[in-house]
């Protein structure tokens, strides 16, 4: 294979750009996926008060401001060495649960779901939410809008604003909720639970009830045996807001649990010459390239990863779905890779869509649990920091991966250094691997099957729900997927575009 090294000055960056390099036999040697990186945010923050970070970081992008708000708030607590009162933590988690319901709903119905509901071979113009509504009925669209509306209402009640929450500060929150608001939140939460169950039933009917889709999900094209990461509570159940980070090997063995503050003991970053973005990997396993298996430090942090890294779900209905998920998908073949002949790990990337719905149900149930917590309307929502600020780490599970904020300040609380590991960055290596594998199916011996290539590549990375940051709001909304295929000499063989 001829290696193509791209000078750092001309590194490739762009929206959804994929470069596929062929070897001399005309087969896929490498595939690179370029995500536009927002450079210099850490430096941009230096010199600002740490209290600004929950407001500032939720504008990094328009996709998950709530996740950045929460990670920044928790990092602020840590910097000031202050433990927020239980009600403040519960309110933050309640807001976050409502956010998860909106985010996972959107992904399933508007983004990932259409591949299945319309079919992976349906024309791209039909594989969207409009196609879903047309096929399944207007009622679906109304439910999606209702779920989002309820979620945004809760976010506004607790977070002060519908879009960019602003109420978390070091030590807690600036406002609580009234009993009247609590009742309204509870009512909306019950609706969300029913909606999540409806969504799982829809998945059952459309995907699990169709053998062709089941074969696609459990097939080899979209499977990788990597490590998995996810936050868990004291009982090792999935938690989005707080807990330790659990790491599970491809054979299902838990290799460790760490406090978010110790992330640098576990995570290192690999640099490639063709992109500014770094590839996090497990330090204790080491970087062995874009390969899977137990010897490769590549890990994944997604809804599927969180289920794999946990021992279960903390709410009853979600636990039932969790058990059904593994009973259905853990194959005899997977068990053969383990010493004990048993495992509880699923490697099928397309199963992430199902895992996301299990999480949707958990988020809705947790929403109701917290809304009915006796402490939730307590006025004790803030603990005044008593110690000088120094350094701290805040970590939450963003819908698309573990999100870590690490701040250092001077004695006045002015930031001197900032480090962020965002959700999608965790998954950059596995996304690249999935795209390569999808491309390998359609490019063999120099023959490029262009029909379906873009769709298969799209499906490969859509399961990860990757974040394209700033690309989410600009008009007129041009977000082309571009695939460039190069031969062993680096010459362009073909360029495929899709204004998806």
């Amino acid at each position: 294979m001829q290696r193509i090294t791209i000078d750092p000055i001309t590194r490739l960056e762009g929206h959804g750009k994929v470069e596929i390099f062929l070897n001399e036999a005309g087969d896929v040697a490498n595939a690179y996926f370029q995500i536009p990186e927002l450079r210099g945010f850490e430096r941009f923050c230096v010199g600002r008060p740490v209290e600004e970070m929950p407001i500032l970081t939720n504008r990094i992008c328009g996709v998950c401001p709530e996740a950045h708000h929460m990670a920044a708030a928790k990092a602020g607590d840590a910097v000031y060495h202050v433990d927020p009162p239980p009600t403040a933590k519960k309110l933050r988690e309640l807001l976050y649960s409502a956010f998860y319901v909106t985010d996972h709903t959107t992904h399933f119905y508007a983004l990932g779901g259409p591949d299945f509901i319309m079919g992976p071979t349906a024309p791209v113009a039909e594989r969207n939410i409009l196609g879903v509504i047309h096929k399944v009925g207007l009622e679906i669209g109304s439910k999606v809008i209702q779920a989002r509306k309820y979620g945004h209402t809760v976010i506004e009640m607790i977070g002060g604003r519908k879009v960019h929450p602003c109420t978390s500060i070091p030590g807690g929150l600036t406002k609580g909720i009234t009993e009247e608001q609590r009742k309204e939140i509870e009512q909306m939460g019950h609706w969300a639970v029913e909606f999540a169950q409806f969504s799982l039933k829809l998945f059952d009917d459309i995907v699990l009830g169709n053998q062709a889709y089941v074969d696609l999900v459990v097939g080899d094209t979209y499977s990788h045996r990597t490590y998995y990461m996810g936050m868990v509570d004291a009982k090792k159940h999935v938690n989005f807001y707080d807990g330790q980070i659990s790491l599970v090997a491809p054979d299902g063995e838990r290799i460790g649990m760490y406090d978010p503050h110790d992330y640098t003991d576990w995570i290192a970053e690999h640099v490639e010459p063709w992109t500014y973005l770094k590839f996090p990997y497990l330090k204790k396993i080491g970087w062995k390239g874009f390969v899977d298996g137990k010897d490769s430090g590549v890990y994944c942090a997604t809804p599927l990863s969180r289920l794999n890294a946990a021992d279960g779900m903390a709410t009853p209905r979600a636990q039932e779905e969790y058990e059904r998920f593994y009973a259905t998908l853990v194959t005899e073949e997977a068990k053969r890779y383990t010493a004990t002949g048993d495992t509880k790990v699923v490697h099928h990337r397309l199963a992430t869509h199902w895992a996301r719905l299990v999480e949707l149900l958990y988020a809705a149930e947790r929403w109701v649990e917290l809304a009915t917590d006796p402490e939730i309307t307590s006025p004790q929502i803030h603990a005044v920091p008593q110690e000088a600020p120094t350094e701290g780490v805040g970590c939450v599970e963003a819908p698309r991966g573990t999100l870590t904020h690490h701040y250092w300040t001077d004695e006045r609380g002015i930031l001197t250094k900032v480090n962020l590991i965002v959700g999608t960055t965790n998954n950059y290596a596995p996304i690249t691997m999935s795209i390569k594998k999808a491309a390998q199916q359609l490019i063999q011996h120099g023959t490029v099957v262009t029909e379906g290539l873009l769709n298969q590549i799209e499906m490969a990375f859509r399961a990860y729900d990757p974040c394209f940051g700033c690309a989410t709001h600009s008009l007129p909304g041009q977000m082309p997927l571009e695939v460039i295929i190069r031969d062993a000499a680096g010459n362009t063989v073909d360029v495929l575009h899709q204004h998806c």
Binding site: G40, G62, L130, G141, A471, L475, P476, G477, Q478, Q498
Partner: protein
């Protein structure tokens, strides 16, 4: 004219007798020229407040009959569509890269005349395009603006964090403010 900020006027609910017009500054104010929409929206808000104070007795202004609300947002697709529910008309102010005019050039388009590349769903991996979201909303019989106008400025896409606009984009702000107010008057007349 009545000027509201969205924060003190719920998006839905409440009967407002006047036509409702929403002005949205779009963009990320931390991403250099992408903050153009926010900057212009803030100036428009100030200009409208000033205008309402200085209107003399007996004078009328076309936009006085409309309830105008100004918002600054960094969202797209479904969230942006949802923000517009309940309004009669909307003006979006944004940084645009069409590549047809020099950097700093101003555009004034109806949303319908802009291309909707996102016929599928890769516009963002998380969202649909605004056009798809609006079609979805209208299919669901949500009350959405009949008229949506886009006032844009041509920019170089940026991925560098900064709160400053480049000189060429900064220079376009005053004209954009006038363009928005002119469009507002025109829309107010049309929706009457």
């Amino acid at each position: 004219m009545e000027i509201r900020s969205v924060s003190d006027s719920p998006l839905t609910g409440g009967v407002i007798p006047q036509p409702r017009i929403l002005i949205i500054g779009l963009g990320n104010p931390l991403l250099g020229d992408d903050g153009f929409g926010w900057r212009v929206a803030s100036h428009v808000e100030c200009a409208l407040q000033e205008q309402s104070k200085t209107v003399g007795e007996g004078e009328t202004h076309s936009s006085m009959v409309a309830a105008v609300e100004v918002e600054r947002l960094a969202v797209g697709g479904l969230r942006l569509m949802e923000q517009m529910i309940g309004y009669d008309a909307a003006i979006l102010i944004d940084a645009i890269t069409l590549g047809q005019q020099p950097i700093g050039s101003l555009y004034s388009y109806s949303l319908e005349s802009l291309p909707s590349y996102s016929v599928g769903h890769l516009y963002s991996a998380h969202d649909t395009s605004l056009q798809v979201a609006l079609e979805m909303g209208r299919n669901l019989v949500a009350k959405l603006p009949d008229a949506i106008w886009v006032i844009g400025v041509e920019v170089e896409p940026t991925f560098i964090f900064s709160e400053s606009l480049t000189p060429a984009i900064m220079a376009a702000v005053p004209c954009a403010v006038q363009l928005v107010i002119k469009k507002l008057d025109q829309i107010a007349e049309e929706v009457l």
